[in-house]
Symmetry: C2
Subunit: 331 residues, 2 copies
């Protein structure tokens, strides 16, 4: 099944641009990672995942209907040529909605994510774009279907439609209509995510390609779904019982297991820098001294620290440039 066929099931055939719209969607940090696709064109995952959204860090996207024959793309205040990789992904996503109709937009995206922190902006970007399309085209789709649509742009975007803890249910259907995120009710005041800056260079292998290489070449990947399923269950338990050690352990082992599948690929896929290892050693040394501090990592060299508010000062002493987000501080 193609993305267009899925969209045809969800949207009316005729659309009209009603108004301009500006929407925000948060970045999210997965505590149980999305790693591997069972179906590539629809971004259907091999395993369910669970994330926490980063409150005010994310993407603002403004859509303005324009009388033109193509879209106009602006990113962080600057016009981008339509042949740029980012523009191509954005217009391809709008094409899914527009399906040959003459509906063009100025798309202005502004990220509040610190670019050096290694946070994926495609998740929040496609989530905000989905919300803005829903609004500008007057679609009034329910959150579950918005999540299905955002997934077509970027898998983890389906989680960025919600605040707090979010689970992406993997689903079983071929059309993916049951593969979408849901917000969990539980909150965790005092939970902190610390963003560490390791490296700002462009990744040599993007996570989409990395996922594919791992799936095709790493024998160890065959056990990844087992790890992810066990971790998902532990995370639900940790959240229900507000058991921080269980949350931290599970998230750290899950992230390291994901990296392990990459390290076991051919050619080897190691996103770590020497400095990443030094920072892991610092985290482990602090934990050895009794500080409940854990980390997670995505497909890059940066660590994302997990701790609770009482540890804030102790953590800042060892990571003075840390940017700290409290996902449940507001709202």
């Amino acid at each position: 099944m193609t993305p267009t066929e899925v969209v045809d099931r969800l949207l009316p055939a005729r659309l009209q641009a009603r108004a301009s719209s500006e929407q925000f969607a948060p970045s999210n940090i997965a505590l149980c990672k999305y790693w591997g696709k069972r179906e590539r064109s629809l971004n259907l995952p091999v395993n369910a995942s669970l994330s926490v959204s980063l409150d005010h860090l994310g993407s603002h996207t403004r859509l303005t209907p324009i009388d033109a024959k193509q879209d106009e793309i602006r990113f962080n205040g600057r016009p981008l040529p339509l042949h740029a990789a980012f523009s191509q992904r954005v217009t391809a996503f709008i094409d899914l909605f527009r399906r040959q109709q003459p509906l063009y937009f100025r798309v202005e995206t502004r990220n509040t994510i610190p670019t050096a922190a290694g946070l994926a902006s495609s998740a929040s970007g496609f989530a905000a774009l989905t919300l803005a399309l829903n609004d500008a085209l007057g679609l009034e789709l329910e959150p579950r279907l918005l999540s299905v649509l955002a997934r077509l742009g970027s898998g983890s975007a389906c989680r960025s439609l919600f605040d707090g803890f979010v689970e992406w249910r993997m689903g079983r259907r071929a059309d993916g209509l049951d593969s979408h995120a849901v917000a969990l009710e539980a909150r965790w005041p005092g939970l902190c995510v610390g963003l560490v800056k390791v490296d700002t260079a462009q990744k040599a292998v993007d996570s989409r390609a990395g996922m594919q290489r791992t799936l095709e070449t790493a024998h160890l990947y065959q056990s990844w779904p087992l790890q992810a399923a066990a971790d998902l269950e532990k995370l639900h338990r940790a959240i229900a019982q507000q058991d921080f050690a269980l949350l931290g352990q599970t998230a750290e082992q899950n992230a390291l297991s994901m990296h392990a599948t990459m390290i076991a690929s051919w050619p080897p896929l190691l996103y770590w820098q020497p400095q990443s290892v030094a920072m892991m050693q610092t985290v482990w040394a602090l934990r050895g001294q009794g500080v409940p501090l854990y980390f997670t990592m995505d497909a890059g060299p940066n660590l994302k620290l997990l701790f609770e508010r009482p540890q804030r000062d102790a953590v800042l002493r060892h990571f003075p440039e840390l940017e700290i987000v409290e996902p449940f501080a507001t709202g």
Copy 2:
């Protein structure tokens, strides 16, 4: 079955110390790693492994019968107390042979392995000790049985009884009499192993404990036997066809997959130092420039480089302190 019961099947009940004996056994570098035990007391492995022996680098062990009530242990020229960990392992191994009989020895072990290179000395040490016991006690056991006995001291010691390429057949029997090494006939003149010094500190977790933690806590370990079986077959093909790229790739992916299972354990087991990552990046950069250079690693931070003689100068330019061994240079 206990080690003593195995020895009872192989050795005559009454033994006599006939002479002193000095024997040498080489260190070995596994290209397909021994990682995980299906039976702990006999060191029976989960998977078959394949190594190359390091010619003159290894252990010299001299046994002298003494008229005493306990053994005397000397290591690299110095007397060691009997309660030292090394002495305990040595005397426990001799106990297996002596089985209550009043046969005591002065055991003098001298390693020619550069201590900073991260080469396990237990493999060559127990292999040399087995050879010396065979000789001093006049046992005249065939190599296959010597390999079974050496395995009881340290798993990978069963491979250090032979030169060149060596396969440790995993076997199926409960008594382990079919789990022993055999020498391969193939030789590979020009093959070089480069020993890199990363860190001389004692490991926080020895490989015996690391193996056990991985087996018990890493879901990804479940796929390790698949990786190892595929790699063993590829290594046989690489050796038969003298296909160096296949040999190097397979050895590197195998080592990284083993480390991946440790990284996926809980608590995480990362033997790498920041410098290990920097050196891997150097190897990959050189390979990107067309230099056929690969690495393997054991349960430690050190890299062991694999290349052929024509690359010697290019490799030395980037690793000036490299100690190079040519396993097939002599003999």
